[in-house]
Symmetry: C2
């Protein structure tokens, strides 16, 4: 998002996003979940997964890919495990439900592992890790997504940007939050550099034959985290997302998804899978011990020596600073979305 974009208050955006989803026919529960997830992303600065997706979701509700009135079904499979059937509704609805179920399981079993099937686009995985952490649980959330990242030494799009999101509660502070793609950059960074005719960093994108390129116009796919030398690690981490989200749940492989954008088919559900893991610190060393330990860890991190011109931050610190800024100054919105939301 360019910084000169007009800014709008969080409350107004929340109201407009939910209104558009209601007009498109989404049930109250499912549109509320989608709105919550999009606003989380917009507030922490992940604009690619923020309010700009409202129009896309409305099209998919209209086209029939998304079920307007999904009836979630929860099947407990063990004292600490369950599957949530998303009934092909907005993915955020099924995913927040998975966090809820995970927390219920974790309160008794110590841990809740919940697979999601028959879901759709998850949005920002961090929203779900956060939902668990805000309630006091260490939480992991992941999904696989449309193929756009090469394997290490590969020459085709194989994995999605497959995010891994972790969050943990911190007494008296906002959570420790990591929400990372397993590629170095997201695809929309390539688009942005293309529109600005600006060179890409080394080792983040490749031509169709798999050669690393810094030319955004020649870039056809992304490279996994770790770049030219250590990309086998990023590729394997993308595989972890697929393992948990698609293989354990029996849903769709990255390369088998009906395209999110640009395909002709907007009426067939995509059967996406996600995975959520919720851990209750009380069932390990105990909540007090955990709280003291993470506080001490973060203090030592924030007090550690910094290189000239740098700044050391804990995962989430950048996001919370951005959230404070956007709550005060408003959330920047792109022209298409301004029109769609009638701002």
């Amino acid at each position: 998002m360019e910084s000169e974009a007009p800014r709008y208050p969080e409350a107004l955006l929340r109201e407009r996003v939910e209104a558009r989803l209601a007009e498109a026919g989404a049930s109250a529960a499912s549109r509320s979940a989608a709105t919550r997830a999009m606003l989380h992303a917009s507030l922490v600065g992940v604009d690619s997964h923020g309010v700009r997706l409202t129009g896309h979701y409305c099209s998919m509700l209209g086209g029939g890919r998304l079920n307007k009135d999904p009836q979630l079904r929860v099947e407990q499979r063990g004292a600490g495990s369950a599957m949530v059937h998303g009934d092909d509704g907005l993915g955020h609805f099924a995913a927040f439900k998975a966090v809820e179920v995970g927390m219920e399981l974790a309160r008794v079993a110590g841990v809740g592992a919940v697979g999601v099937k028959h879901s759709s686009h998850l949005g920002a995985a961090g929203a779900y890790a956060m939902a668990g952490a805000e309630a006091g649980y260490v939480t992991f959330a992941t999904t696989n997504t449309d193929s756009v990242v090469a394997l290490f030494d590969g020459a085709q799009k194989f994995h999605g940007t497959n995010p891994l999101a972790f969050a943990a509660p911190v007494p008296g502070q906002r959570p420790w939050l990591l929400d990372m793609a397993t590629s170095s950059i997201p695809l929309n960074r390539v688009m942005l550099h293309r529109s600005l005719d600006k060179t890409l960093p080394e080792g983040v994108a490749a031509t169709p034959d798999g050669k690393m390129t810094t030319d955004p116009h020649a870039a056809e796919m992304l490279l996994p985290l770790g770049g030219v030398d250590y990309g086998y690690k990023g590729a394997a981490l993308a595989g972890v997302a697929t393992l948990f989200s698609a293989l354990l749940t029996g849903t769709t492989l990255d390369s088998d998804f009906i395209p999110m954008y640009g395909g002709d088919d907007i009426s067939t559900p995509r059967n996406m899978g996600h995975f959520v893991l919720v851990i209750d610190p009380d069932k390990f060393a105990g909540r007090d011990v955990f709280g003291a330990a993470i506080s001490r860890y973060l203090l030592s991190l924030r007090r550690s020596a910094v290189r000239d011109g740098g700044a050391v931050m804990a995962p989430g610190d950048r996001e919370w600073a951005e959230m404070d800024h956007r709550k005060a100054e408003g959330i920047p919105v792109d022209p298409d979305t301004i029109r769609f939301l009638g701002l």
Copy 2:
């Protein structure tokens, strides 16, 4: 390990390693676990965690840091969660026990999350992920370790090389296996380049003031995976290892460990923590669905397009090829270890 190093048969090394640990006083159960973990590492080519550690462990058994006859205590904390108290013995003993406990929990609860406290050096985290996968479970194992990796923009050693290891069973094949440090390279790579006077790759190591360097003699610490531009991801993943291994278990932070090597104190236990997560595919989409899905995923990965001069491999493929080679040709052993094992 230089390829010209003399090679010895697996069975001979197994016998000699266990004999030396027995002479140093380690109980039968604890030395058997340590031998298993070291041979795993030596067979898959992770020589830094292989049989060369025998001498170190024997010194620590002699010095009193390691309890020769640890009595493990398992405390179940929920239907899917437990803590294992390692009684300050060899870390491998406590960690394999954690996998066993995790599998027992997962059979009923669907998932078993097990923290380990009062442990010591874990060795290769992949050995534990493998132990679960060989028994049919998706398994995650991690530990935090001695500080040697800078934070992103940091100018001091903060996290350890903190490994994340995942493994998953594959019908009729050896497991999918990822065992990765959250730094780009291990510290012993710096040592090797120093001894060969060979330039390091870009973005993997830093001077004491946190500046990236390719001079192995100037390198004082490692940089996190992701290098100069995206190292915040590797640093956060190292934090995930610390979160699960140390914060949830109430054990020791990376920067608080008594040094593994080179310190004066070899008598005080180090109270290391580890974490193991075991998942039963039967309690999600089901073992058959999972088996078919991971087989199809790996087939599509191995058949995918490769860039000129490259080769696409699944996580673990390189390790299994090395294991086959070493089982046939023997395991290379360094001169100090040849002497220590009386080879």
